[in-house]
Each structure stands twice: as C-alpha cells, then as structure tokens.
Symmetry: C2
Subunit: 219 residues, 2 copies
DNA sequence: AAACATAATTAGGTAAGCCTAATTATGTAT
DNA sequence: ATACATAATTAGGCTTACCTAATTATGTTT
C-alpha cells in the first residue's frame, strides 16, 4: 500500500519532473510540499528502498516506472474529481483544487472507473489539463503558450500553465473561458503585451505574464 | 480540528450509545474499532481533555454535545455519499459502505451542502438510515422491527437493523427491497418465523433472524 | 470474606512523518 | 587552489496512534 504522504511525494515529484526535466532535487521537493528539506531527505530514502523512486545521494530523485504509475493514478483521480465538482456540483474552476486534493486519495478502482463513466470519459479537467486513462496514458497534446503565437494567428484557448486562484479569478473576471477563440491582432514590442480579439467580439490587451500562461492550440 | 482517528472514535461511540444506551465501555469501543483496549484507554483520555467526550475512569465514556455534533456530521456525510454512490454511480447497496468510510472524512462544508442539494435533499440513505441535516437533526422515525408485528398487519419495509453484506445480499437475492409492502400472513409459533406476502404478490417464509432485522412502518 | 474472572488501566515501546540544529557536500567566485 | 554560498545530509527529538505485557479495579461466585 501507498500512504497519503507517499502519494503526495510521488505527485510532487511527477509535477516537478514534468516541468523542470529529469532529476528532482531535495530542495525543489521541500519547496513544493512545504516540508523541511531534512524531512524530505529522510522520506525519499525510504521511498527509494520501496523502489518508488531512484535516489542518488546529493543528486536527487526520479520516479521509477511503478512510482510514475502511482503518480498518474493520483493525478487521474484528482482531475476526474475536479470535473465532477465543476460539472455536477456547480463549483467554479477556482474552488475545486483543495477539495480534489482530498478526494484524490480515496482508494477504490471501482469508484474511479464508475466516476469516469458517469462523467462521460472526459479527456480534460476544468483547467484544461489532460486526464490520463486507467493505464496512465495521455492523449496527444499540441498546445503552446499564447506568448509563442505571432500576429494574425487564430487559436483556441484550451488550458492554463498557471493554476493559482489569482490567475483563474483574473480570467473569470476578464470573461476569458476555456474554448474561447483568440485572434492575435497585435503584439506590443515594448512590453510584449498582446492585443487579442475574443470570440470575434471583444478586444483585450493581455500582459506578457498572462499570455505566457494561456495555453492554446492552432485553429 | 478533528483527526481521522478522533472522527472514527466519535462515530463509534455514537453508534454504540445509540444501540446499547448511555455509557460506552472501553471494551465495546475496542471491539467495534478493532483497536486494542489499552490503546483505547489512552485515546479516550486525550479526547476527554479536548472535551469531545466525558470520561469516568473504569466506567466508560459518553459524547459531549460537541462530540455528538461532530459524530452526526460524519454520519451525515457517510450517508449522503452512500446515496450518491447508489443513485448516481450505480453501485449496489452492499458495495458502498467501505467507500463511504473514506469519503466521510473529506472536509468541506461547501462540498457536503452542494452534494445534499445535488441529491435532492434525501432523507434516508440506501439502507433506510435517516440522514441528519446540517444541524444534526433527524426527522421523526416510527419504524420498528417486523418481528414486533402481529398477524394481519400490513407494513412497509423501510430499513435494516443489520448492515452486514451477508444480510444485504440475502435480501437482494430474496428480491426484498426498501419500499416493499409486507403483509404478515402468519407467525410460526415453534421457530418464530414469519410468513409474509410481498407487494401483494410472492409469499415468503422469513426466519426470526431475518424479521428481527427488517425495519418497517405501519401502513 | 476470599477467590476468581473479566475489564480497564498503566508502563514501556514502535513506526510514520514531521521538526531544528549541526555537519558535510557541491559548485562558483576569487 | 582557497574561500564562500548554497544544498543536502545526519543527528537527535517530537507527536500521533497504535502495540504487548504487567498491574489494578470491579463485579460475581463460592
Ligand atoms: Mn487541481
Ligand atoms: Mn485541474
Ligand atoms: Mn454505511
Ligand atoms: Mn448506510
């Protein structure tokens, strides 16, 4: 069995690995988990013994295949619960993460498969993140940050690269939603801000901090 | 905050108190929680300090008002989740308890109120148990065991007094469901078994062990 | 009242997960 | 090559929630 703490470590390692490449340092883990580095060192040594990760002293850790599968199953559960909370219980996309952090640890394969079915086998969660299948496989993802688009490009907003409530609430307030069509009308040389037309209607100026975190696919 | 262990102790104390009256003994608690009596003594002393229960050494414990409210909130969550699992996810009534044991500890008032609303404010769970409201109040319950009915009485099956999978599966196999109408056609003096007519159709002989655990209301 | 059985408590210990403070390793700047 | 800064580890401790074995309390027989 995998404990709550182990599940959280595995998920954190997976996410850091995804973002900053291969090897995950003790300090990076300590940072994301808000746990003292000394405690992390302790814990990862035990996880290495259980073959959930490989650990090279003073270098860092990486997930074993088994560890990766567990991490993906937690992420799958987290994202399915988020879909349920938004689609069925009426929560907003900035209200579901904390609850899903708890629900993701409920253990029952039957439950999660029934939930998946109940939701209609969604491919993405309320933030546009891909939901791995029961085997830990993702569908292909061709999205890129809006910041990498050029003038004249027309794209669809499909996800966020930043999940803070501040950012999610900014988007809600600005009336920008997943699925919206964005046309890059201009890019300001000076501050790298984007002028976009949303759904062929409103025009908006988006700062470089914003466009960096809007994930889009070409239309 | 209340820990997972505390929540489980409170729920167990509540249930024993409900069944066997006022004071709950260390051994009764140890039995239901499957925890060593010495550990229970230890733990209840700490709970008494936190005013979750009152504790008289070598006598036993009873819930404080605060403890009772927490116990009821856990029971409320447990039963609402069971309703959801059966009504929305397609589980059978003998498949939901273990999953609800986990879900009942998820912390979010918002979540449980939204769930309640989503389910249409159910008054009973899949086993006919009453669901307390957010303030810990129950609707009145006038049910009694079928064993206390007399010949000729016509009643409705509304709940079970025994929650084991064995019993639930026996009822399913016998095609006896919550809401069924039962007419007591005869009572066998020798073994206290009941002959009943179900929904004005099939006739069945039910042993005294069975009728004792079928809760019914007069029609 | 003494003996016995059973229930409850106390004493002492363990594992999981965390902490702080001290030490050591690693990489960069001088 | 040495010094310095930062990262990582080690050492020693703490709390929670459990355990076993030993002791004491309680209630029932004889
Ligand atoms: Mn989330
Ligand atoms: Mn998400
Ligand atoms: Mn149950
Ligand atoms: Mn139930």
């Amino acid at each position: 069995m995998t404990s709550l703490a182990e599940e959280n470590y595995l998920k954190a390692i997976y996410k850091i690995q995804e973002k900053h490449g291969d090897v995950v340092t003790t300090s990076a883990l300590a940072e994301t988990l808000a746990i003292n580095a000394a405690s992390v060192t302790d814990f990862i040594k035990k996880m290495a013994v259980k073959k959930l990760i490989s650990y090279e002293k003073s270098k860092g850790v990486r997930l074993s295949e088994q560890g990766r599968q567990i991490a993906l199953s937690i992420i799958r559960k987290h994202r399915l619960w988020e879909v349920w909370l938004v689609n069925n219980l009426g929560f907003k996309w900035d209200e579901v993460h904390e609850i899903a952090e708890q629900l993701e640890h409920v253990i029952s394969d039957e439950l999660i498969e029934q939930l998946d079915k109940h939701l209609g086998y969604p491919k993405t969660d309320p933030h546009g993140d891909l939901i791995p299948d029961a085997k830990g496989r993702f569908i292909k993802n061709t999205s890129k940050p809006l910041s990498e688009c050029s003038k004249g490009e027309k794209v669809k907003f499909t996800g966020v690269a930043e999940h803070s409530n501040a950012f999610l609430q900014y988007l809600t307030k600005s009336n920008i939603k997943l699925g919206d069509e964005l046309l890059v009308e201009g890019i300001e040389e000076f501050d790298k801000s984007f002028q976009v037309k949303i759904n062929n209607k409103e025009r908006k100026i988006l700062s470089k901090e914003v466009v960096k975190n809007l994930l889009v696919i070409a239309l």
